[in-house]
Each structure stands twice: as structure tokens, then as C-alpha cells.
Symmetry: C2
Subunit: 331 residues, 2 copies
DNA sequence: TGGCCACCTGACAACGTTGTCACGTCCACA
DNA sequence: TGTGGACGTGACAACGTTGTCAGGTGGCCA
């Protein structure tokens, strides 16, 4: 900038004015400065600018999701990006892989970078470590999963309701041996889904078969293995409620391998690409809507809104596509 | 930091030393400073730090892909993230949606933020606007698509070869009426793929039927519409080469709607989630490998490597899964 | 012609850090 | 006891920018 000023024969401040498109610079001077900047390949330094006008925005938000390669996370990211772009805000994204340590590390890093806000799909069991940041006024919104140990804005999906709908759907079609596959119990969401599944059984005066509730699935392969095992039981499940994206895929994979895609009912939580072509009945969360709501709330907070935290719960929807409508063999 | 220094009864510089874990501070003093920092909720400001030690890294790279929600882009992002994480580098990601203007705008923004490097899956027809940045030493790697009008590192896939393999696969099974569906001709990749398809026909002493080459597909719906139209022709295609992810999906969707999934052969370019379960034969690009190579090159550049640009071309692989092995009806 | 005002422009300090260098203390050794 | 050196600490300037305020120029009106 100093060089540009010298080349244009003006002061630093005038270059600054031109660069920031501020008024108070004559046309001729402005052009001279622009020409010099162009000639010298001058590039404005946003970091320095933000430092000087401290208290202003950096134009960056941090987004911590489960795995950016996962279609659900990616969809959320995209929805946030679209909403933030109009405000000239960019996204720093990170995958947590359900790791508490990574969540902590990335949050610390993002805070050091003075992001304008944080969107977190938490991996850690408690988030009270964020207390000082909240107190300092950093906007933080939890997406998909509610925070624990702290009071913050959140936009989540009614997981219990979704699971209830899924299992009720299967019970209504006569299934009784319904397997429930979820991920690690340390994830609050998984607990909610199990709760919803139990509630559906209870409504029908039944109980979730203990041998068919299997938690702790980390990935597709694990889920596939479980399905193979369960189907080998003397009294195998006639229907499967897959508690997450990757678990649905593993379930389908295993059933396909066994040639049982047509005979065993499946309802999955979370829609996924190609689920329509695969005719998989799912509980769909409206990621685009969730992302839009998160972004809107975040923008309000960034704009200075200091009202008490709100908690938005979106109802999921069951999308029947065939796999969930397969009747039990006996019926 | 000033407050911490005052609270601990030391100078600014000493706090700096403690914060950066530099040697030359007695244990007692160090603890006093840490306690004060903790008590005052002090947060190190990386922007200011990077400004002071200018010339050092910001620990951020910019990644511009087609669409972060697209499984291919998301996979690339994830591969980059994994490789960069060990070097404590975070990713700022943006979706270009094949828009030249957005590419320019985001590049400008990222440069203002002094990212350590840029990974670009270009949307614009030419990238010579990056010339000054390259000259200034900013590491830029092109991924998936080669740069035009500029000489930079790039890691791309042999698109012509992939298309050749796909079409040759179909020709070898007796298909002659093979439809070739690609995206906009302004995308260099699409041209390459058409070229490869023609080469395969040429090898068999044939020519790509002019009425079956349809370019300019923007999304899944457009591709589906084309498939419906082509299949209504008096002499319809017996096989379809889908030149991209979304086009494959549109093709499958249309064929499913027509009940022709079992009778019309399909080979798609780019693997996609669930393609295995859908038994879709595809040309697979190894995104993880591509991402790893891009990251490795970028890290070398960031570390100061100034050797001439290299160009890595990865061979794609045909994965037979069923849809590409359907024979033509007559045969 | 003098005076007032609007309008441009520039000097300076400050944002939160850290590199450089100098100072002071303490210990070891001659 | 004096000297040298190692070590811990701090003062200061600088990174690239912009807010504040003061100064300078020119036009217009009395």
C-alpha cells in the first residue's frame, strides 16, 4: 500500500480510501491510485484491515460437521454457504468424525481466527467449555444435535418423533421382530431415536425386542455385519430400522448380498442420494431448511441480536418408497 | 494480552513467549501468566500474529469446487482436509456452480485473506487472471480439470481415456446406437470426454451417431428429459454413456420411470454413492488419491518448492457392475 | 477584495502481535 | 574479588491497515 501511495504520489490514507471505495477522493486521483495499484499488483490485506477496525466482522464463520464427505453434512454445508454468500461470508469447514478432541481443537483454532460465528454439529458429550465464548458474545448455533451443558441457539430435528414414525410404520404393517440399529450411545441423537422406537412399541402395547437393539455402529461395514448376524438368528428380524445414513447403506448392502432386499423391510433415518431409485423408505430431515434456519439465526446474532437462545425443532417426514412397505413373511 | 501482562505483572513480550510456548521463561512466571490468561479468558489472535510475522503461513487454504454438496467435490474436500490437518491447515471451501464470476470473486476474496494456497476445480474457461498471483509465488493447484491460459501444477484425470473405455466397453458388447450425454461444452472436461468417445468408435471403424450426442446438461432433470426423448426416437439408443455424476442419476431416473433399467445399457463417468447397490457400471476416478496428490503438491509448494509446474494425469478405471454389461436387444 | 465554507487530502496513532536487541541478575571460574 | 557468560526479562518498533482530526485549496457571496 505504501508503494502504491508512492507510485500514485498520494498518501497512504488516500489509497485506503480508494481501495475501500470511500467518498472524498477526486475522480482523477482515484484513477491514478487504481492504475498504480493495478500496475504494482497490489492486493488488499483483509487481515490487517480487520485488525485495525477491530470489533468489525472477519467475514468468516466456522462450520464443524460430522464429515464433509457425508451427504447430510455436505447438504448442510451447502445450505449454509448459500445463505451466507449474500452477506459475503465464507465458510471454514471441518470434519469431526465424532471425535471430542477434534471438536475442541477446531473450536479453539477457529476462535483464534476470530470467526464471526460458529455452527456446530457436536461430537462431544458436553459443550460447557464454550461458556466463556458465549459470554464474550460469540454467536454459536448448534445444528442437528442439541447442545448439552450450555444454553445456546439450536436447530434440531425431532429425532424421537422420526424414530417413532419409522417403527410405527413397520408395526402397523404387522412387523414385530424389528431390529433397531443406531450409532454410539454417546451421541445424544442416537438415544433420542431409541427412545422414539420404544415409544412406538409401547403405543402398540409391545416392547422393543432386546436382542434386536444394536448400538454403536461406526460405519457402513459395521452395520452390514450386524445385519448379517441378525438375519442368521433363529428368530430373525423381519424389518430393520436403520438409525442413520451410513447404517442404512450397510443394511442395504448386507440385504443385497443375502438376496433379501425384497423380503426384509427397511426404514432408514436420514434421506440419502439415490434412495429414491433404490426405493428405500426413509425418515427425511429437511437439511436445506435446517441450514437456512441455522444461517438466519446466526446472521441475526452476528447483527447483534442478544435475545435469549431459541431452540427450533423440525419435524421429520416419512417418505414411503417401497422398502418400508414390505410385509412380514407370515402375514 | 496487555491485560494478561498487567495481571501477571510481566511485560507483553513475556506473555507472547508463554502463549507461543517459547523457551526462556521460568516455570513460575510461565504459570503465573497462564493463570492470568485463563482467568481473563484471553484468546490468542492469530490474525494479528500472522500480520506481525508476515511472510509466515496463515494456516488456511482455499478450496474452490463445483458444489460442496456433490459427492465428488465433497470427497475431494475430505481428502484435502485429511492431508492438511496433520499440518494444522484449515480449509475455506466454496461452491462455484460452474460460474466464472463466482470463481473470480472467491479467488479475489481468498487472496485478500492471504491463504497459503489455492486448490481450484475451475469453472471459468481461462485462468490467466491468476498470472500475477503465480508470479507472486502463491501456490495454486488445479484439480480434476487442467488450467487454461496459464502454467500451474495440476492433478487431473484422463478424461478422454475414461470415455474411451466406457464407449469401447459398450461397443465390444455389440452396441452401436450409443448415446453420449455430457455437460456444457464450455467445460474442457466435457470436450475431452466426447473426444474419447469418438476415438472408441473410430477404433471400431465406426462413427459416433450425430443424433445421439447431446451436450449441455446442467442437472439431473435435464439429463432425464434427454433420455426420455432419445428413447422415443424411431431408432433409439440401446446404450447410454452418461458423461457425469448428475447425468448418470438423471439417466437412471428416466430409465426407471420407463421400466427400462434392465434393457438399456448404461455406463457413467464418475462413481457415486450407492452406484454399487444400483449395479451401475461406472468409470471411477480415485478422488481420494487425487486429493492426496493435490495436497502433497500443495504442501511442497507451500514449503517453498519452486520447481517448474507438474501435471499429473490419473488413469480412471472401469468398474463393471451390471448396467454396462446389458447386451443390445437384437444380439 | 475579504471571509466563509465545502471539499480533498494527509499526518499520526492505533489494532494485537512478535522480532530484535539491550539490560540486569546470577553463577562459575580465574 | 573481578570478569565473563548464560539466562531471563522488557522496551521498542514494525506488520498493513484505517479512524480521527487538522490543514490546504478553491469557489462563492457580501
Amino acid at each position: 500500500m505504501r508503494d502504491v501511495a508512492a507510485a500514485a504520489g498520494v498518501s497512504l490514507k488516500t489509497v485506503s480510501r480508494v481501495v475501500n471505495n470511500e467518498p472524498g477522493v477526486t475522480g482523477a486521483v482515484r484513477e491514478r491510485v487504481q492504475a498504480a495499484a493495478e500496475r504494482l499488483d497490489y492486493r488488499h490485506n483483509l487481515a490487517a484491515s480487520n485488525l485495525r477496525r477491530s470489533g468489525s466482522r472477519t467475514g468468516v464463520i466456522g462450520v464443524l460437521v460430522q464429515d464433509v464427505a457425508n451427504s447430510y453434512s455436505a447438504g448442510l454445508l451447502r445450505a449454509l454457504e448459500d445463505a451466507m454468500r449474500v452477506h459475503d461470508v465464507m465458510l471454514v469447514a471441518g470434519s469431526l468424525d465424532e471425535t471430542t478432541a477434534r471438536e475442541r481443537a477446531m473450536v479453539t483454532n477457529l476462535i483464534s481466527r476470530r470467526v464471526d460465528g460458529l455452527v456446530i454439529v457436536p461430537a462431544s458429550p458436553r459443550q460447557d467449555y464454550l461458556e466463556p465464548e458465549i459470554r464474550a458474545g460469540l454467536p454459536i448455533i448448534f445444528a442437528d444435535r442439541a447442545p448439552r451443558g450450555i444454553d445456546t441457539d439450536s436447530v434440531i430435528v425431532d429425532n424421537a418423533l422420526g424414530a417413532y414414525q419409522a417403527v410405527d410404520h413397520l408395526l402397523a404393517r404387522g412387523h414385530r421382530r424389528i431390529a433397531v440399529l443406531t450409532d454410539s450411545a454417546s451421541i445424544a441423537t442416537a438415544d433420542e431415536r431409541v427412545r422414539g422406537a420404544r415409544a412406538a412399541f409401547a403405543k402398540h402395547g409391545l416392547e422393543l425386542p432386546g436382542d434386536l437393539l444394536v448400538r454403536g455402529h461406526a460405519d457402513q461395514q459395521g452395520a452390514a455385519a450386524t445385519v448379517h448376524r441378525l438375519r442368521e438368528l433363529p428368530d430373525p428380524p423381519t424389518a430393520i430400522f436403520a438409525g442413520r445414513n451410513a447404517i442404512s447403506k450397510g443394511t442395504l448392502q448386507a440385504l443385497a448380498e443375502r438376496g433379501e432386499r425384497e423380503s426384509v423391510a427397511v426404514v432408514g433415518f436420514d434421506d440419502f442420494p439415490m434412495a429414491d431409485l433404490l426405493q428405500v423408505t426413509v425418515i427425511r430431515q429437511d437439511v436445506a431448511k435446517l441450514g437456512a434456519l441455522v444461517a438466519a439465526r446466526l446472521l441475526e446474532r452476528i447483527a447483534g441480536d442478544t435475545t435469549p437462545p431459541i431452540r427450533i425443532v423440525l419435524p421429520p417426514t416419512l417418505i414411503p418408497r417401497g422398502s418400508g412397505e414390505i410385509p412380514p413373511p407370515a402375514a
